[in-house]
C-alpha cells in the first residue's frame, strides 16, 4: 500500500517536472520580452529540476542515493535562482529596459 503511494507520488512529481520543463521551453521562445523570457528560464532551471529530483528521490529508497540527490537538490536551489538573478541584473545594468505597456518604449527586444 505504502509502495503504491510512493510510486504514484513519484510519478506525479516527475510528470509535473516534465510539464514545467516543456512549458518553460515554450515560454522561452514565445514570451515577448527578455525579462519575461528570463522568468521562463528561471522556472525551468529551478522548479522543474527540483520536481524531477524529488520524483527521483521517491523512486529509489536507498539512503545513499537519496543523500546524493538531496545534495544535488540543495546545489540546484542555491545556484539556479542566483544565475537567473545574475543574468537579469546584467541586463538591467546594460540598460535593457523591460517592455512596458506604454507604446513609446520600442526597445524591449535586444
Amino acid at each position: 500500500m505504502m509502495d503504491m503511494v510512493i510510486d504514484i507520488s513519484s510519478a506525479l512529481c516527475l510528470l509535473l517536472g516534465s510539464f514545467l520543463c516543456l512549458s518553460g521551453g515554450v515560454g522561452i521562445i514565445r514570451f515577448p520580452d527578455f525579462y519575461t523570457r528570463m522568468h521562463g528560464a528561471g522556472v525551468t532551471d529551478t522548479l522543474a529540476a527540483s520536481m524531477i529530483l524529488i520524483g527521483l528521490m521517491l523512486q529509489n529508497p536507498d539512503a545513499i542515493v537519496i543523500l546524493k540527490l538531496v545534495m544535488i537538490l540543495l546545489m540546484t536551489l542555491f545556484i539556479s535562482p542566483t544565475a537567473s538573478h545574475a543574468i537579469a541584473k546584467a541586463a538591467i545594468n546594460s540598460g535593457l529596459l523591460p517592455l512596458l505597456d506604454n507604446k513609446e518604449n520600442k526597445d524591449g527586444e535586444s
Partner: protein, 313 residues
C-alpha cells in the same frame, strides 16, 4: 553571423550537446571532460576575449566562395571515406580487436582500479597523457609569453577602485558564491581522487578547481583576486604539475623499469600501479588548474589595459 558573443555562446551549446551525445554513447568520463572544458571554460575564455575585442566581426568585402567549395569537397570526401568503415560498435571492427580486448580483460588484474578509462589513460597510455599535459603547459607558457605586461603604471589605482565600487552592486551573487566556492573546490578534490572508481580524474578536477578561482576573480575584482592568488605561485605550480608527471616516469626508470612503468614503484605491482596513477593524476590536476588560472588572469588583466591604451591614443 556577425555577433561574436552569439558565436561564442553557440560553440558553448555545441560543446554541451556533444557532451550529452557522449553520455548516450556510455562514455561518461569523456562527457564530463567535454562538459567542463568545452561548455564551461572554453566558452568563458572566448567571452573574455570578446569583451576585449568588441562584439561584431569586421565585414568581409568579398564572398568567400572558394572557401565554401573547399569545405564542401573535403566534407564529401570524408563522408565517402566513412562508407568503408565498420558499423559503430561492431565486434569485428579492427579498432575493437587490437589492444582493446587485452585492456578490458586484464585491466583489473594488472592495475586494480575499477574505472577502465582511468587505467587506460593513466597507465596503459600514460605516455600519451604526458603529451597532453605538456601541450596544456605549453599553451600556458604561450599565453604568458605573449600577454604578460610589466608593472602597471600608477593610473591603475583609480581603475581598481572603480572595479571594487562597481562590484558592490553584485551583493546577492557575491554572498551566494561565498557560500558555494568552498564546496566547488571540495568537489574538485573529490573528482580528482575519485577517478579510480567513477568518472573523474585529473583533467576534470583541474578545470573545476580553476573555475572556482575564476568565479571568485570575476565577482570580487581582479585586484583582490591577484592578492589572494599569487601569480608567481601559480606559475611555479604549473611547472610543478608537469614535473610531478615526468618525475614519476624518471622514478620508475631509476627503479629498473621503463619510463612510466609503475609496476616497479613498489613491492607489489598493483600497489605500484595505484601509486603511479595517484601521482600522475595529481600532476595532471595541478597543471591543468594552474594553466587555466594563468590564461584567465592574463586575458582578464588585459581588459582594463587595452581600454586605457585606447583612451590614451
Amino acid at each position: 553571423m556577425k555577433d561574436l558573443f552569439a558565436v561564442a555562446m553557440l560553440s558553448g551549446i555545441y560543446g554541451l550537446l556533444s557532451a550529452s551525445l557522449f553520455v548516450t554513447m556510455d562514455a561518461v568520463d569523456v562527457a564530463f571532460t567535454e562538459a567542463s572544458v568545452g561548455a564551461g571554460i572554453s566558452t568563458l575564455l572566448m567571452l573574455t576575449t570578446v569583451a576585449m575585442t568588441g562584439r561584431s566581426e569586421n565585414t568581409v568585402r568579398h564572398k568567400p566562395v572558394l572557401a565554401l567549395v573547399v569545405v564542401f569537397v573535403t566534407g564529401a570526401l570524408l563522408i565517402y571515406g566513412t562508407l568503408d568503415m565498420p558499423y559503430f560498435g561492431d565486434v569485428q571492427a579492427a579498432a575493437n580487436l587490437h589492444v582493446a580486448p587485452r585492456y578490458i580483460q586484464d585491466s583489473f588484474q594488472e592495475i586494480g582500479v575499477d574505472n577502465i578509462v582511468t587505467s587506460v589513460l593513466a597507465s596503459y597510455r600514460a605516455f600519451d597523457t604526458f603529451g597532453e599535459v605538456v601541450v596544456i603547459f605549453t599553451a600556458g607558457i604561450g599565453v604568458l609569453a605573449l600577454l604578460t605586461f610589466t608593472r602597471r603604471p600608477k593610473g591603475d589605482t583609480e581603475i581598481n577602485s572603480l572595479n571594487d565600487s562597481m562590484h558592490e552592486q553584485y551583493l546577492i551573487v557575491r554572498i551566494v558564491s561565498k557560500i558555494l566556492i568552498p564546496f566547488i573546490l571540495l568537489f574538485a578534490l573529490y573528482v580528482q581522487f575519485h577517478g579510480d572508481f567513477g568518472p573523474g580524474g585529473g583533467f576534470q578536477a583541474g578545470v573545476i578547481f580553476a573555475a572556482a578561482i575564476i568565479l571568485y576573480a570575476m565577482l570580487f575584482g581582479m585586484s583582490v583576486a591577484r592578492r589572494v592568488i599569487n601569480q608567481s605561485f601559480v606559475q611555479l605550480f604549473a611547472a610543478v604539475g608537469v614535473l610531478t608527471y615526468g618525475s614519476v616516469g624518471v622514478a620508475s626508470m631509476l627503479n629498473g623499469g621503463n619510463f612510466l612503468d609503475y609496476d616497479v614503484l613498489s613491492d607489489d605491482p598493483v600497489a605500484g600501479q595505484h601509486l603511479g596513477i595517484l601521482l600522475i593524476e595529481l600532476g595532471v590536476g595541478i597543471a591543468v588548474a594552474t594553466v587555466v588560472i594563468i590564461i584567465f588572469f592574463n586575458f582578464a588583466g588585459r581588459i582594463g589595459f587595452s581600454k586605457r591604451e585606447g583612451n590614451k591614443e
